[in-house]
Amino acid sequence: MGRGNAGYNWRNNMTSFFWSNGHLGWAFFGVLVYSVLCLLAGDIVWRLTPAPFRKILAAFALVWAAGVVVLVALW
């Protein structure tokens, strides 16, 4: 087992993240769907709360990042 093997595994894992068994990788698909839902949910919150735009943006960036981490970790 050498460095080359580790690199191969990483590339292989990344490929299966985006594509696996003839369809999009579930993690990648999940991240895309989750990102769109985050964007639309952020829009609703921005319209319904008096909080400043920057605060909402920061909060949603955190929520989005945490969600992505969870999805990738689950994968």
């Binding site: 999009l24 769109v36 319209r47």
Partner: protein
């Protein structure tokens, strides 16, 4: 293959949603409108744009033209002639002018403040302006806002008048009862299309019970007490 098709279908649907959202931004999308309060459902900037191009949202027009039933209070006194915000209640020459500003989102049907008889309907004015309710601009001889003054003789409060005043945005006034018509308290009087100002003229001796900045509702909010001072 089926999985890929389903995934692509979901992603294309989401892309369409994001596209619509981006095209509409900063205005709300059609799927969001029903869940927003009126002011956010149809933001002022969007309404002003519609005023320019005349292409009003059908939902907004239906909302604007609403005409709910109102139940006048049993207590004696004049009721507000319009929905809106009291912006002034100053008196001049023995008459108190209660100025009610209507926004785009207020109900626009005006109502009679008391039981009485319409003795005159007086259209006047030559300008569509902003600030139409400020500094008695509606009383000017020249360059006053286009308006219609409905004079009502009442048994309880003497002679009153309700002024329906246009603005830059509101350019049409409808008065429904004719001269000589008898009015019930809270009866529909007319409407100003697309929001402006309504002024109630009351003899100064009647104490008012509303103040500047207060919201009032046509036919329901008492604006005077029954007693005179």
């Amino acid at each position: 293959m089926t999985t890929l098709l389903v995934q692509v279908l979901v992603l294309v649907s989401l892309a369409v949603l994001v596209g619509i959202w981006a095209l509409r931004f900063p205005y709300p999308t059609f799927w969001l409108r029903p869940f927003l309060p009126a002011r956010k459902r149809w933001p002022e900037r969007e309404i002003r744009a519609w005023l320019g191009n005349g292409r009003f949202h059908r939902g907004f027009l239906a909302f604007f033209n609403r005409d709910p039933e109102r139940q006048p209070p049993s207590d004696p006194g004049l009721v507000a002639p319009a929905d809106g915000l009291v912006t002034s209640a100053e008196a001049r020459d023995g008459i108190r002018y209660l100025v009610i500003a209507l926004s785009f989102w207020d109900m626009h049907v005006q109502r009679s403040p008391a039981e009485g008889r319409v003795v005159a309907i007086e259209p006047s004015g030559d300008e569509y302006m902003d600030g139409e309710g400020r500094n008695f601009s509606f009383l000017r001889e020249k360059h006053c806002p286009v308006q219609t003054r409905v004079v009502i003789d009442t048994a309880s409060h003497g002679r009153l008048a309700v002024r329906l005043i246009t603005s830059v945005a509101a350019r049409r006034i409808e008065v429904w009862p004719g001269e000589g018509a008898t009015l019930a308290r809270g009866q529909r009087l007319g409407r100003i299309l697309l929001g402006s100002t309504v002024v109630l003229e009351i003899p100064e001796r009647f104490p008012i019970c509303v103040e500047r900045g207060q919201r009032v509702w046509a036919g329901e909010t008492l604006v005077t007490t029954g007693a005179t001072t």
